[in-house]
């Protein structure tokens, strides 16, 4: 039996190649970053200076032999200094962390914009293969993981290192003897905490795997619950779920075991350090040495606890790094994806098309050698209206996709106005070609924004004019807020007929020179809308080159010429009357179409 494959691999803690690419994004902010590092350094120094003040207060004034009034004045002064330094520490810390957050947001902004732009450029084949949900993860949670690493992980690590160094420096300054004693146990401390940390992380990772396996299972069960019930499998399914649930619980119990060790071990190590301070300090005082004072010992106790703090969230930080590395790998893999369809270095400039379209012995396949178009050859004159007919899978839609260069041909050439479509900039080409789809994609926004597609050059008058022309104005006016009526994504609130009219307005509003129409058969349009659509279609096709994948007889009858496709080949061409009289494939196809829609 095939084993259930493991979920995807975890990211590494550190990857030099990925880090270099990340640094490229940080490059524009390098001076600010340097400023940040300076601030971190200041913060570490200021913060670690505070126990020195405490030491002075204790040794000089609490234990001093001066007049009480002098001692109280001294205490008040040192207290004031302490407050000042603490305030400074607060300011520097806040400034630094806010600044860093700002830098991180901007670095991430650029990265997110790059990813988004990249996805918009990727070949359609890639987008067909990858579910939208997964692509979204790239611009959302993956980017978020990076943001966390830049703003917290990276800086946190640096700050921790500075603080540890500063503490060690001040310790040395106060009492080399006590400092050396404590330094001897620091390796032990790091080793023990590192070991517990490593195990906790491992246990956590196991829990994460089990959790995601359980979640996947649960999601599947929720989706398939009715199937489960139809087959009376409730007891079995419950037992299986319980098994996985128990496994997850076991994983958590493991994790709890390690987590529970963490703080107690730290407390013990902390106490051990204080014990050392007391014994070594006490011994020094006992032997009459003046290298250690009570104030120094108290300051050391304060340092000990500051020293432990960075170790507390080490585990969290390493998780941040790990997930950021995994995310950046996924992000860069996406950014490195070849785009295949490139703009030429010296594109043919154009104002508008006359509208001549030529297919010059075109061979085309979506993959390998599964030819969808085989040696298709035809010419369409400017202003001509052409219908392409054929059974499903004959290659009609591919012809449309090649004209506006969603894909590139393998052999032959697609030419518009005598130039290969590959000679134009894609944007220029598509701007002059309008596409009308039967079930158009409705963006969330308003009716108007779905017609002008957020093009600022399209005025409201133009939108209304286009809508009026294609018979859409009437239904739009009837909506509660007219052209400003909000519509939801996928246009749930619009009927199929309304969406089709909207699609025509959308195409018309940019006044294209060439019109591509995908007139798929739809059953859910009432007769009145059907008439409106037919009328609109006739109107938009007037005066411009139009290529229509037709299913409506009225459309087919209305064109200048018909191309008949079968299994990727162009088998017949001519006017409706010519083709009907030929008694060939077209004739039978026509009879079939005459029967639809059958409801």
């Amino acid at each position: 039996m095939i084993k259930e494959p493991e979920p995807e691999i975890e990211g590494k803690l550190f990857d030099a190649h990925l880090t270099r690419r990340l640094l490229r994004y940080a490059h524009p902010y390098r001076f600010m970053l340097a400023g940040c590092v300076v601030l971190i350094l200041c913060m570490a120094l200021v913060q670690s200076y505070l126990p020195v003040l405490l030491q002075a207060a204790i040794d000089r004034y609490l234990l001093g032999d001066d007049e009480p009034a002098t001692r109280i004045a001294g205490l008040t002064r040192i207290g004031g200094q302490y407050l000042g330094w603490a305030l400074l520490a607060f300011g520097v810390r806040y400034l630094q962390s806010y600044w860093m957050a700002w830098i991180a947001e901007h670095i991430i902004f650029n990265m997110r914009a790059d990813i988004f732009a990249k996805i918009l450029r990727l070949p359609l084949g890639y987008l067909d293969r990858h579910p939208v949900g997964r692509l979204m993860t790239r611009v959302t949670s993956d980017v978020d993981a990076m943001q966390k690493m830049v703003s917290d992980g990276l800086v946190g690590l640096l700050a921790d290192a500075f603080v540890l160094l500063a503490i060690m420096g001040f310790m040395w300054h106060l009492s080399p003897r006590l400092a050396l004693t404590l330094f001897t146990i620091f390796p032990l401390l790091v080793a023990v905490m590192g070991w517990i940390n490593w195990n906790t992380r491992r246990a956590h990772r196991r829990v994460r795997h089990k959790q995601s396996a359980l979640n996947a299972h649960l999601q599947e069960m929720i989706t398939g619950m009715l199937t489960v019930q139809l087959f009376n499998r409730e007891p079995q399914v419950k037992a299986e779920f319980d098994r996985r649930n128990q496994e997850l619980r076991g994983g958590w119990f493991d994790t709890v075991r390690w987590i529970s060790w963490f703080f107690p071990s730290m407390e013990v190590l902390n106490a051990l350090s204080i014990t050392l301070v007391l014994s070594v300090g006490g011994w020094a005082l006992w032997s009459g040495s003046d290298t250690v004072t009570i104030g120094v010992m108290v300051a050391f106790m304060a340092y000990v606890r500051d020293f432990f703090r960075p170790l507390e969230d080490l585990s969290e930080k390493s998780t941040v790094f790990q997930s950021a590395m995994a995310s950046s790998e996924r992000i860069f893999r996406l950014l490195d994806e070849p785009e295949r369809i490139d703009d030429p270095a010296q594109p043919v400039q154009l104002e508008s098309f006359r509208g001549a379209v030529t297919f010059d012995h075109v061979w085309f396949a979506y993959n390998d050698e599964n030819w969808v178009l085989k040696d298709v050859h035809f010419e369409i004159a400017p202003g001509e209206a052409v219908a392409i007919v054929g059974a499903t899978g004959a290659g009609k839609t591919s012809i449309i996709s090649l004209i506006n260069r969603f894909y590139d041909v393998q052999q032959g050439q697609v030419r518009v106005d005598g130039h290969d479509v590959r000679a134009y900039r894609q944007v220029d080409l598509r701007r002059r070609i309008g596409v009308v789809i039967q079930d158009p994609f409705i963006f969330s926004g308003t009716i108007a924004s779905n017609i002008d597609l957020h093009n600022p050059q399209v005025t409201r008058e133009r939108v209304v004019e286009a809508a009026r022309y294609v018979n859409a104005h009437r239904f739009i006016e009837a909506l509660p807020q007219g052209y400003d009526t909000p519509v939801q994504e996928r246009g749930v609130s619009l009927s199929t007929g309304q969406k089709q009219l909207l699609a025509m307005a959308r195409a018309l509003v940019q006044n294209p020179d060439i019109l591509l129409i995908l007139d798929e058969a739809t059953a859910n349009v009432d007769t009145e809308s059907e008439l409106l659509i037919q009328d609109a279609l006739r109107k938009v096709m007037r005066g411009r080159t139009s290529i229509c994948i037709a299913h409506r007889l009225s459309t087919i009858r209305g064109v200048d010429r018909i191309l008949v496709m079968r299994h990727g080949e162009l088998i017949e061409t001519g006017t409706h009357t010519e083709l009907i009289s030929r008694e060939g494939y077209y004739r039978r196809l026509y009879e079939l179409l005459a029967h639809q829609p059958c409801s």
Partner: protein, 583 residues
């Protein structure tokens, strides 16, 4: 049914009360030791200040400090293990019960609830509840105990300094609590913008063809940029609250040190406070640091945990409509006989989708049903499998209303291959044998053979043991449908429902399946729903359903004689076949 009777979170907690009590005892002991430790430092410091001491005394204090820490750590270890594991145990129990309850819920529930929402309840909401129960209870108990003990001790030692602390520390807690609340609001704002970004990307990627077709890329990128600029604004507003949080806490505890220095220091100079006591106070200040922060955090956990629990409880409160109840006649153990739809009507969300269906399927007959999309064909099948109940009329099998038949008896007899077959990520064999109590390779093989699946199986990497789904072999539409047919047949059901299961299967394979199925269908009552004349023509009778009504009925031969939907369908399909044949 444990799930529906205990829907209070308290009940889950109470079930473990002895464990929790044990945990709390460890909390108490560990806190008591912790709060006692500053006494050791105090006496040690005072001894040192005194000047005249034996080395043994001070080493004794030092050793005592470590020993106390060891004892405290031992208790701390037990307390965490007990309380945190209890949290996970309770999480496990809730998840188990909710799942068991989901297994009872019906079509109405799953039709209404979105899988994503249910998943959120079962994941992040459950995590919030667990954190509240595990961390919340443990931190809450610890905070309360630490604070009360520390303040008692401080008041006993020096009430004036204690009063200063009493003023400072709760202020910190309160401030922290309010900052956290503000943080939550701003966090919610930025999350909202985040989901706008996410929806925008979703829409852009889903509508990529339109985007490209209309050369909208530049504009779309600009709009994406604007959304992100707003997001930065909101994130920075969040940062303005979030970033000073920790620095402010550090600073406020610094203020605490200063206060001890000013107030306590004066007392030391005046001889009212020893240096040891001074050090002891500053240690309490440090020890209380975490509990004071934890207070605000715990309240937060509690609020979130309770809100999440409400959402989880809403699943547990949902009652299935399709289930055995007082009408159920438990003496029914098998079902047989004619199936009769008697004046059946079905209303869904206020619209009547099936009108006055009267029909008898004699036992052993095959009924074909066809009609345009949305005419109610699948609903008819769902009524028979009792996924939904009719709003009017009744469905009889033999002499029993199907609502009186125990649900599992009915389902045992009904084998259904639905329109969109749901296959599990499991092996092919387990998917086909899904309805079998004992996996039986022979039955599985026979069922696969009936559905013409075996030639495909031969090509799979591990034949019947091939894993299906995202992490294994992805089946084609036709293969999925044939797997669904096999799955229904493997149970050898008395009533077989095939709901549009040939749509993705090519005509030749369909013919082969039809040929194999004929003898099998003779032994059982069958309902075949299809858009294809070829699947329907062998049926004993065919119904045409339009807008929820039966508009035509008869055998294939009869129906092709009448003008109407069925004849149109037949003609179109013959033309299509003819077109395919042209060369």
């Amino acid at each position: 049914m444990p799930a529906s009777t205990t829907i209070s979170l308290g009940a889950y907690v109470r079930r473990h009360r002895s464990r929790i009590r044990q945990g709390i005892i460890f909390v108490f002991v560990s806190v008591a030791i912790h709060m006692g430790m500053p006494f050791i430092t105090r006496y040690a410091v005072d001894t040192l200040v005194d000047g005249d001491f034996r080395l043994g005394t001070i080493l004794g204090y030092a050793a005592a400090y470590s020993l106390a820490a060891l004892a405290m750590a031992a208790c701390g270890l037990r307390m965490r293990r007990i309380l945190l594991s209890t949290g996970h145990q309770i999480e496990y129990e809730i998840r188990r019960d909710v799942f068991a309850h989901l297994a009872r819920l019906d079509y109405y529930f799953f039709g209404r609830e979105r899988t994503g929402d249910l998943m959120t309840k079962m994941t992040s909401d459950l995590t919030a509840v667990r954190e509240f129960v595990g961390q919340g209870l443990f931190q809450g108990a610890r905070t309360a105990l630490s604070a009360s003990l520390a303040f008692t001790i401080m008041f006993i030692i020096n009430y004036r300094l204690a009063l200063v602390m009493l003023f400072l520390l709760p202020t910190i807690s309160l401030l922290f609590f309010f900052l956290l609340r503000l943080l939550r609001v701003r966090y919610a704002d930025s999350q909202e913008q985040f989901s706008r970004i996410s929806n925008f990307s979703q829409e852009s990627f889903a509508g990529i063809r339109t985007l490209r077709g209309y050369a909208m890329e530049a504009r779309q990128q600009e709009r994406f940029g604007n959304l992100n600029t707003d997001y930065i604004q909101l994130k920075m507003a969040l940062s303005r609250v979030e970033r000073p949080l920790w620095p402010a806490m550090v600073f406020l505890f610094g203020v605490g040190v200063v206060l001890i220095l000013w107030v306590g220091g004066r007392q030391v100079v005046a001889g009212q406070l020893t240096v040891g006591q001074f050090v002891q106070f500053s240690q309490y200040l440090f020890f209380l640091q975490w509990p004071m922060l934890a207070l605000g955090w715990t309240v937060n956990l509690w609020q979130r945990g309770m809100a999440s629990w409400q959402r989880i409880a809403s699943i547990l409160q949902a009652e299935p409509r399709i289930r055995d109840n007082e009408q159920t006649d438990h003496s029914i153990t098998t079902i047989q006989g004619d199936i009769r739809f008697e004046q059946v009507a079905l209303e869904l969300e206020g619209t009547t989708v099936l009108h006055d269906i009267n029909w008898v399927i004699p036992a052993g007959h095959t009924l074909g049903v066809t009609g345009p999309t949305g005419s109610g064909k699948t609903l008819l099948a769902s009524l028979l499998a009792r996924l939904i109940d009719p709003t009017h009329g009744r469905i009889m099998i033999g002499d029993n209303d199907i609502r009186t038949i125990p649900v599992d008896v009915l389902r045992r007899e009904v084998g259904m291959a639905p329109q969109e077959a749901f296959l599990f990520s499991d092996t092919l064999a387990n998917n086909i044998g899904f309805g079998l109590d004992e996996p039986d390779p022979e039955k599985i093989f026979a069922a696969a053979e009936l559905a013409e699946l075996h030639p495909d199986v031969e090509k799979f990497p591990a034949r019947f043991d091939t894993w299906l789904g995202e992490r294994g072999v992805t089946l084609s539409g036709g293969q999925r449908q044939r797997t669904a047919i096999s799955r229904a047949l493997a149970r050898d059901p008395g009533i077989l429902i095939l709901d549009d299961v040939f749509s993705a299967i090519d005509t030749q394979t369909e013919a082969a399946i039809q040929a194999r199925l004929q003898p099998v269908l003779h032994d059982r009552t069958t309902l075949i729903i299809s858009h294809r004349v070829s699947s329907l023509r062998h049926a004993d009778c065919i119904l045409v359903l339009q807008d929820g009504r039966i508009t035509q009925s008869g055998t294939h031969a009869e129906l092709v004689q009448q003008a109407g939907y069925y004849r149109e369908l037949d003609e179109v399909q013959r033309l299509e076949a003819c077109l395919e044949g042209v060369s």
